[in-house]
């Protein structure tokens, strides 16, 4: 058996490990510093969304969408996935014009999942929406899933596929051995493998640095608030064309409001903090688009830490300084949906050195490496 190590027990690490372990001939061990799903994998909003993706990400997200619709077959659990649709509302004629241009651009590339709808249709989809909403872009079979349940389902599937998951192990060094394999030094001894995946999220650029590779990347700590339970009033996940909003009512009736409003992250302490000033802004937007939540109360808030490259797109590709090491990080707050497909792509890269999955655009070569 050929040995592979995956560093990072978030969803991308688990998905990569799962797909590689299902490739004949590979023995996979996953190392996680804390516990599986500790950071953004376990605490994101669970959006399963193609709608509004940056153009280079669409192809991979379309592959991922197909995998989500068959997620039960992939991991043996439905992950709480509900294809209730994603809707991005337009609040003005200018928004509508922007939406039409966007959808025309997407359709020109051959994609059909985004659709412009008028006021009557948006009202049918979102009966509780404010009267000022004039239309929307809709992706009808997008939806959302339960992040923690998804993490646990991927973990269980990976373990069934033969992956050894070791929690509480921190990687401290990466080096090439005389035999051409990679030695992964940890606080609990050395591991050796032919292929290593760097799926360490916000801490992945530091791992790249251990391998002597500089990849420009910041961090992100998107905040979310949750209201008390309300009667069911909306099925799809809702965003807005011109304003930062992500709005979803869960099966239990609570409303989860996000939209990329940033908290404060402390990478060294592995914590992040909610900043209420900008959350109040998110809450105001939410109440303007859904007036029925104006009187609701906030019961919880949280944030998770994630890597964010300068162009907000992931880094997927083999290390330039330590061949055999493959990066997969920097999903910048929109990696949840991509995880089944990205894991499959990285596993293929590791096993065969190539993949037909559309990840070429995410190579770190797109950044000018500082001397």
């Amino acid at each position: 058996m050929r040995q592979a190590l995956v560093i990072g027990g978030g969803l991308h690490g688990l998905s990569t490990a799962l797909h590689l372990a299902r490739t004949p001939g590979w023995q996979v061990t996953l190392l996680e510093r804390r516990h599986v799903g500790r950071h953004s994998s376990g605490v994101n909003a669970g959006g399963v969304r193609r709608l509004g993706r940056a153009l280079p990400e669409i192809a991979l997200s379309v592959v991922a969408a197909e995998m989500w619709h068959g997620i039960q077959a992939l991991v043996g659990d439905d992950c709480g996935f509900r294809a209730t649709g994603q809707v991005k509302v337009a609040e003005s004629a200018a928004d509508m014009a922007r939406n039409e241009a966007r959808v025309a651009e997407v359709r020109a590339l051959g994609w059909r999942h985004e659709e412009v709808v008028d006021q009557a249709e948006v009202r049918r989809l979102l009966p509780a929406v404010s009267p000022h909403v004039v239309g929307a872009i809709v992706t009808r079979d997008d939806g959302s899933a339960d992040p923690m349940r998804t993490v646990m389902a991927f973990r269980a599937a990976a373990e069934r596929a033969g992956v050894t998951i070791r929690e509480g192990i921190a990687v401290t060094g990466l080096a090439r051995t005389a035999e051409g394999t990679i030695r992964v030094q940890t606080d609990q001894g050395d591991f050796e493998a032919e292929r290593v995946a760097n799926c360490a999220g916000a801490w992945a650029p530091d791992l790249a640095a251990l391998a002597g590779e500089t990849i420009p990347c910041g961090t992100k700590a998107s905040m979310m608030i949750v209201t008390e339970r309300l009667p069911a009033f909306v099925d799809p996940t809702v965003g807005a064309t011109a304003r930062a909003l992500s709005f979803k009512q869960t099966a239990s009736g609570t409303v989860v409001i996000g939209g990329g409003h940033q908290g404060r992250s402390d990478k060294a302490a592995e914590t992040s903090t909610v900043l209420f000033g900008s959350l109040a802004h998110a809450a105001r937007i939410a109440a303007e688009i859904f007036p029925c939540v104006a009187q609701a109360r906030i019961v919880r808030s949280w944030t998770g830490t994630e890597a964010r490259p300068p162009d907000d797109m992931p880094v997927i590709g083999e290390s330039r300084t330590l061949p055999g090491l493959f990066h997969s990080f920097g999903f910048a707050g929109h990696g949840f949906q991509l995880s089944p497909a990205a894991g499959a792509a990285v596993a293929e890269l590791m096993a065969r050195g190539a993949t037909n999955l559309p990840v070429a655009a995410f190579s770190q070569d797109r950044f000018a490496v500082p001397a």
Binding site: R264, I298, V299
Partner: protein, 453 residues
């Protein structure tokens, strides 16, 4: 120097008194419409019952506390009806909300948290029925509003509050249908020597127990509550006596309480580390004997800093303020400091005996039936929690992620204690090992639409 005192119970009042004495004008924040705390809870303006009727043997202390409270208000930036719902320790800022709406950010250089305590409960079948409340809730209803939770209530739990509340209800004309103490008489008697460290309080406790018996209130010690029966509301309690015989006692309300736990979410948000206190059976924010937290500028006093009772709250409030003044190189009373240190040491011995006399019945929590709801906000049963344990949740925060326990409106303030017992016993570890739910803002629900201050 900007000093903020959170809470105007016995600890907060005595802290502010010392600050004002040293020439400091603190901002004083209280969640209720008025100060006074819970044991010496003040009725709303216009209520006319006398202090003697309201507080019994505590009347003198209540009168003195309330007099200081009223004298201090004009000498501080007094903010009643104000909830502190978040702290940003990096910026030394509190987020507050007044009258359920107006938002403000309050900067501080030093902070004294006097956030009090709340009842510790033990879920049992039927505890979510209307008519079931906590002992503290039952007592506050009587003291502040002059209403009882029922005409023939049953009081269940252990601790001084159980007996005190029972006598107060009996005196008010709502004779309890049963007082059920889960602690055996001998467990209490065994600690009598230790409780002589505060002889007046101990003797008063003995007096209360005797008075209840004299009034013919049915009392069961070393008994086990089994279930609360009812459809629209609580109508009876099923219980088992020390001889393992089962009984059904009709009632119209039930109050539950097994001692107190610190309301320490603000200390948590301020970055104060917590330690498990095996004797109190509580997680307690770390502080020195004077009330200094290991976080610079943060002080704690009263039950929020570890359960000590109303008398200790007064002492520790004054002591924390003196520590703050000394640290800030402001004038502080050295003689008073030495006196308070002595009193606090003695009271700690009394408290240790009291905790041993009225232990939290951890075994009952661990044995809870699978179908009993532990978290009443999210309706998470003991069985679901055990399933989370089986799904590899080695500690409370992961059990929360798996089961939603503590995600509801109370944020685990109520369910955290029993949930930790259920999880620990399912995992076969100690309750200290399963940890505690991390605090998250908002500490209590706040409106989504936040009007500016």
């Amino acid at each position: 120097m900007k000093v903020v005192v959170v809470g105007a119970g016995p600890a907060g009042i005595r802290a502010v008194e010392q600050l004002v004495r040293a020439g400091v004008t603190p901002t004083w924040i209280e969640e209720s419409p008025d100060g006074g705390g819970r044991i010496t809870q003040r009725p709303p303006a216009g209520f006319t019952r006398s202090a003697a009727a309201l507080y019994g043997a505590d009347a003198g202390r209540a009168r003195r506390l309330h007099a200081t409270l009223d004298a201090m208000k004009p000498r501080t930036d007094w903010r009643p009806d104000t909830l502190v719902w978040n702290i940003r320790p990096q910026d030394r800022v509190l987020h507050t909300q007044t009258d359920g709406a107006a938002q403000a950010e309050v900067p501080y250089d030093a902070l004294i948290l006097c956030t009090g305590a709340m009842d510790r409960v033990l879920p049992l079948p039927g505890w979510t029925l209307p008519g079931v409340t906590t002992l503290g809730g039952a007592q506050v209803a009587l003291k502040a509003q002059g209403v009882g939770i029922g005409a023939k209530p049953i009081l269940v739990g252990t601790g001084p509050l159980l007996w005190l509340t029972a006598l107060q209800y009996a005196k008010a004309g709502a004779k309890p249908a049963l007082v059920l103490d889960t602690t055996p008489f001998l467990t209490k008697a065994w600690q009598a020597a230790g409780m002589m460290w505060n002889a007046p309080t101990f003797l008063r406790g003995i007096g209360i127990m005797a008075a209840l018996r004299l009034r013919g209130v049915p009392i069961a010690e070393d008994a086990t509550p089994l279930a609360i029966e009812g459809v629209e509301g609580a109508t009876a309690l099923h219980w088992r006596d020390a001889a393992w015989k089962e009984h059904v006692t009709p009632c119209d309300a039930v109050a539950l309480g097994w001692g107190l736990k610190p309301e320490s979410q603000l200390a948590d948000l301020a970055g104060v580390p917590f330690d498990y206190d095996a004797l109190q059976h509580n997680w307690v924010p770390r502080r020195d004997a004077a009330g200094r937290a290991p976080v610079a500028g943060v002080y704690m006093a009263g039950d929020g800093a570890g359960i000590g009772g109303a008398e200790v709250a007064e002492l520790s409030g004054a002591r924390a303020a003196l520590a703050l003044l000394a640290d800030a190189k402001l004038p502080s009373d050295a003689a008073l400091t030495a006196h308070l240190d002595g009193r606090l040491r003695t009271e700690a011995r009394f408290r240790a005996a009291l905790e041993r006399a009225f232990p939290y019945p951890a075994k009952l929590a661990a044995r809870m039936e699978d179908s009993t709801p532990v978290c009443r906000c999210e309706v998470i049963t003991a069985g679901e929690l055990r399933a989370a344990a089986a799904a590899d949740a080695p500690e409370m925060n992961r059990a929360k992620a798996f089961s939603r326990i503590g995600m509801g409106r109370c944020q685990g303030r109520l369910c955290g204690t029993p949930a930790a017992e259920v999880l620990a016993s399912a995992l076969g570890v100690t309750v200290a090992e399963v940890g505690r739910l991390r605090g998250q803002p908002p500490v209590k629900p706040i409106p989504l639409q936040q009007p500016a201050a």
